[in-house]
Symmetry: C3
Subunit: 421 residues, 3 copies
């Protein structure tokens, strides 16, 4: 037995992937090993479409957000033709960060170091004290692929973005377009640092077995029938079930009369840009995440006319989920920082004409998800600590953790594709 075999053998990622046990949680290195984190950055985050922002965050020409993805920083900016553009946030001179702010509005993009100046379409228009042979046209900002989908902005850091986003957009746009996200505004935005690997954040999002005890605020909005079929309904649950069936019928009818799609689509681990869409009725008032299921904004979104329009829930691999309600939308993204650290951004969107203090109250609008996010942060931190323990061994998924497994299937499949010549 040589020392090199004993001590921290370099992670054999191929072997780890090969011996992954279906039905069981991943082995610890996937959540803790810096080498696997680098692999995740290269294979997942630098190669796939990433939900990054809502178009409502940059309504006007010159408006920008910067997005940090590991060591990358990307400028997403609306250009003078109102197109959404994305660039590496790095000056072509000596490499200074150009924009330090998380968001704002600019005329041109000016590097603070030596004032190299770029138009919002990326073209270099000014650089001082250059020799005659200096060729500005070759020193524009380096572009990043960008695509909007019904008001949601996706970027891809890779040279060859996955080609299936058009197909996914064709599926999702009919679901999303009624919500008119392009005609919304940002009511609130929160960044939450979570002390856990990004996959633990995603896995936490992909099951609600923990909701009953962890999320008292959230579960009041949903029917307490998660995972039940009609055969499981006890006499005690029968009234709930009848209420649920009525809400289902109401929602199906509301979709039907307006021609909106209603059926669930699950392609979480069967394509590169994995996704799921489902439209769930809500309990109580049935409208939104307010107390007793009541609305949290008075202006309904887009083409929605019935406030009891349920929760259009969309999951996307690798880093996003969305809840669309009749009166507001909540969009979430997770971005990795380190093997054991991630940042979750939550953005609440309301109708562009809704007035704060009149049509909506920020505390009321954000109460449920702020509470839920903090609860999930603690669960994710506990999970990270646990899988970091040498005493951890993968355990079996329950029957209601199918979407967790789909996420892991997708992830492992994407690694395999990346690592296979």
């Amino acid at each position: 037995m040589t020392l090199s075999n004993i001590l921290a053998p370099s992670t054999d990622t191929d072997a780890l992937i090969d011996r992954r046990a279906v039905g069981y949680s991943l082995e610890a290195p996937f959540y803790t090993d810096p080498q696997i984190f680098d692999l995740d950055m290269a294979a997942i985050f630098a190669r796939h479409w990433l939900f990054s922002a809502a178009e409502a965050e940059i309504p006007d020409p010159g408006d920008f957000v910067t997005v940090d993805i590991g060591a990358y920083s990307v400028i997403i900016v609306r250009d003078d033709d109102e197109e959404v553009r994305a660039f590496h946030n790095v000056c072509r001179h000596r490499g200074s960060r150009i924009l330090q702010q998380a968001c704002g509005s600019v005329g041109n993009l000016v590097c603070p170091y030596h004032q190299w100046t770029y138009r919002v379409d990326g073209e270099l228009v000014y650089a001082e004290s250059q020799p005659p042979e200096f060729d500005r046209s070759r020193l524009g900002l380096r572009p990043v692929h960008v695509r909007t989908l019904a008001g949601l902005i996706f970027i891809c850091l890779g040279d060859e973005p996955p080609g299936d986003l058009d197909e996914v957009a064709a599926v999702l746009e009919p679901y999303l377009s009624p919500y008119g996200l392009a005609d919304t505004k940002v009511a609130h935005q929160v960044d939450l640092v979570e002390e856990g690997n990004w996959k633990l954040v995603m896995e936490n999002n992909r099951e609600c077995q923990h909701c009953d005890t962890a999320h008292p605020e959230l579960i009041t909005a949903y029917f307490p029938l998660f995972g039940y079929s009609e055969n499981d309904i006890t006499p005690r649950l029968r009234p709930v079930f009848e209420r649920y069936r009525a809400a289902q019928d109401h929602l199906s009818n509301a979709c039907s009369v307006t021609g909106f799609p209603r059926d669930e689509r699950r392609e979480l681990d069967t394509r590169i840009t994995g996704f799921q869409v489902s439209h769930l009725p809500l309990d109580g008032g049935g409208a939104s995440f307010g107390a007793d299921g009541n609305p949290v904004s008075r202006k309904l979104l887009g083409d929605i006319e019935d406030e009891r329009f349920g929760d259009l829930s969309i999951h996307m691999q690798p880093n996003a989920w969305f809840h669309m309600l009749s009166d507001h939308a909540v969009v979430f993204r997770v971005l990795p920082v380190a093997p054991g650290r991630s940042v979750v951004r939550t953005t609440w969107l309301v109708h562009a004409d809704a007035q704060e203090g009149v049509d909506y109250d920020v505390d009321n609008l954000t109460a449920v998800w702020n509470a839920t996010n903090l609860q999930d942060r603690d669960l994710v931190a506990g999970a990270q600590r646990g899988v970091t323990d040498p005493g951890y061994v993968p355990g079996p998924y329950s029957m209601v953790e199918g979407d967790v497994e789909s996420f892991v299937n997708w992830y492992v499949g994407r690694l395999r594709t990346y690592l296979t010549p």
Copy 2:
């Protein structure tokens, strides 16, 4: 000369061990290198018996403490049959940390994530939404070896704990049992983070050459004759020496009449579970660590009837030392956190019937060791900074640092055994 030879050559641990110079402090990588730290975790902390807690910390069924050893977390809990048990603090489902608190009391061990529920004997008794083939009996908490010794709890993370703890217990129990540690309670406990490798903390504990200048509070309790033989006694020291001889005689007599062992036993580097026991008379009042050597608690421990019963001092490899006085006990453990960081826990035990404010005062009880620990923390931090300096070269031990060398002998020997097939 290639770059790989120049830059950070991978630490050649075998060579480091082979060229260790007897009589000299260890080379720097033993204190600073992350790879050696991993080796220490694997060869020492994951394979040896570690003093972890006093039984008095978990007097009743359901009482627990959690112990962090590097990335490991271990639950030590008293079960319903009053047996002490130890388990990895990791859920068998998806790996969440189960208990986040340092100590407390539970009925069952319930994972906060999805409520998997284990009895305090480790058996899984509840897991929701499982398929029919789910086998609870295979998913109990993973046990950790645990052993009590006269009221002190030792755990071993390895599959095959060192077999010599029974022999050590046979030696130590006659010394310890008179103190009746099972009939004590925790009066105070302090965790101190030290910015030094765990071995520097141990080495600091294993010599008192630094005490004269560093520990003014501590040395008042001991005779200022450390390292002296009778031949060294100057006329000025003669009165001290006579006082010392009288105290020795008093202590020997007190042991003799009660049948308690009195002789010193040194097996620090001659066995796997290295230890030393010695029984030292105290100066001044001769009773305890109070001002002028006076008692700090009015209720004497166990079978002790004479308050002038000296200091029963026990050292154990790799991570503990103990002081047993007539009126209280102080138990210490050091656990590694990182190459340059350790945590020292100090626990003061008094008779279970002693009442705070009546029989003892916490400030008075803890004054000497709180001061001493803080002084040692600074010395250890200075030592860590020094050995991290590329200008450091190992230096010679003095004549009164034999126990430091014994510790290092033991440590290097254990590494050799671990690394030899």
Copy 3:
């Protein structure tokens, strides 16, 4: 394609150096890679002369400063013969740091752990409890090469310091000796932690293209003609140019009448101890960095009799720059802490007889460079963030960044020499 090729290939420093493109900024790993940082420590900071302190910081026997260079700590102390000495700040016993303070005054150097005691010439004079064969003469403090140059102290951690410092001293001393730095005192000193690689700090110092927008306080002292030749002078700039020519004439005359050298010397990348010296006239009052170019101290330095004596500016590789004015001197050093962190120390020296509150005011004395340093700190941090971004590619230097390129030439050349057998 194997995983090891994909993931974090071990930095191929030779290839990085070989493909360095002249005229372009360095590739990212030079600023971010821990392995390159170790190489910089070994090849640059452990082998070259480093400006470390002014003699004025240790005027009397026993006065010391400690200098931290990466993990090294060095004691610079004036011995009883008034010689400047330097030693590794590590006890020869078990390696404790000896002096914890940044500066102070001592009789002997006493280790706080076990009181090993060294004279200020490094000799060990006391070590307790040693065996008869103990040989103090072999356990003195380990010396570090040290050299003073007109009141500036340079150390070299290597065994064989570059031999050309004598030549450099022969050039620089005639420029520096008129300022009588040995007869100054420290009026103020500031350490600034910068979140950037040490080379970004140096590069920032080696061009003033950023000064116009970044340093409003600093540029008022200098003529706004940086990089201009007489052919570039527009009618609008003509009055400035005439003022500049007059100031040049005044300065040349002042040097001439006193026999001080006046010509610029540039040997930044053509020798091991690269340097540049130039003597620049100042605008406005033309005396110093006070408001409107006025003096900031009433006592002129050394042999200077004309307060309009310009700015004697000296740059030295790898880590220092100096500004000598008629009434004060400002000396700067940068030392690396980590790949992305450095510490810049700025020390203001005034005539030894100048009285604070009477002859000078610290706020007034330090205003310009305190502001400038903070501005540069932000620029360096932005540059570090940018070059850390995977979107960074090296960009072209402008026509006024020749000294940046000279620094990089010097650096790359020194690496090549180090890596070549």
